[in-house]
Symmetry: C2
Subunit: 207 residues, 2 copies
Amino acid sequence: MTIRYPNGKVYKPSGEVPKVLKTNKKEKNLSFSNRGKTLEDEINETNLFYLNHQIAVIHKKPVPIQIVKVEYPKRSAAVIREAYFRTASTTDYNGVWNGYYLDFEAKETESKTSFPLKNVHSHQIKHMEDVIKQQGIAFMIVRFSKLDRYFILPFQILFDAWNKMEKGGAKSIPLKVFELSSVEVSPGFNPRIDFLSAIEKLIANKE
Amino acid sequence: MTIRYPNGKVYKPSGEVPKVLKTNKKEKNLSFSNRGKTLEDEINETNLFYLNHQIAVIHKKPVPIQIVKVEYPKRSAAVIREAYFRTASTTDYNGVWNGYYLDFEAKETESKTSFPLKNVHSHQIKHMEDVIKQQGIAFMIVRFSKLDRYFILPFQILFDAWNKMEKGGAKSIPLKVFELSSVEVSPGFNPRIDFLSAIEKLIANKE
């Protein structure tokens, strides 16, 4: 949705510049680039915005941990002294929006041309497949970090690419497939990554 | 659902006894009582049954942990050496069933007469309130462990009791309120606690 001048510069309507930008001194920070944030940070910010504005209730699940040893010091909080990271059996994010169950994974890639499927685990595919069968909405948010571009990839597209790979096909999804078959979201101030607007489009397309 | 002989012994139809029961030596373990399992175990078993039978996709969220120190030994898995338990900002369970977003907390009490509200945290109430506003289904599964009775308490009943308590009212919900305003579930073999049948009743009552 970004409007550009013929020379490629982004058009900024003077009357509508958000306050935070007006007070920002550094020229290079005036764009909405990701400023070194992880995609996780950006999605968490977005979810907080949705929550505070009663738009949706979406949370990141905690990292699953296998706890082995806990100390209980007197008069202070319990300390975990030995624990291991476990593999998650689901995606990282889920929640409810306007009666819809949402379930998604967020992944970023440094590649400028395609999204490597090695970033996805088979149990995540299985989980999202289960979610779709229960009439939930499953998708993946993919950030091409070097390009500063964000795509909302419907599960079906991911699933097709996954199944082709399992049969010996390509191990990645080309950027072109994202451009054709997913909804691109321009990063903004608040919400940072307005993925619900993309989901709205996907639902409208289906109906 | 347990059938008993006049002497109190449990009736076991010879042809239908599940394998696990046949190999069980202790007489008192032959009923469907909770056998020392935590409610969490029982709900996890139930969710696994629902998942394997493609009835619903519901998972317990991992315990949120604040990780402070991690060691990365050569040639073996990363070890968490210092971490702390954090307070969850949501309920423990959520998922999707037949297009519905489900969100709940599971609590047990040793009391035989009422459920103490100190078992519930204000952020859980707030979270469930948010879920209801997004047209999700929020509820609480309460086990009266000493009575071996299980109730599916709709959020609205919990919310009313909570608000009364905040205004100086009772600090617990009497068993009688559960009997009148919630759906009781008899524990079974598989699924262990069939809470979805209770949710179905609650939805039918609303419509």
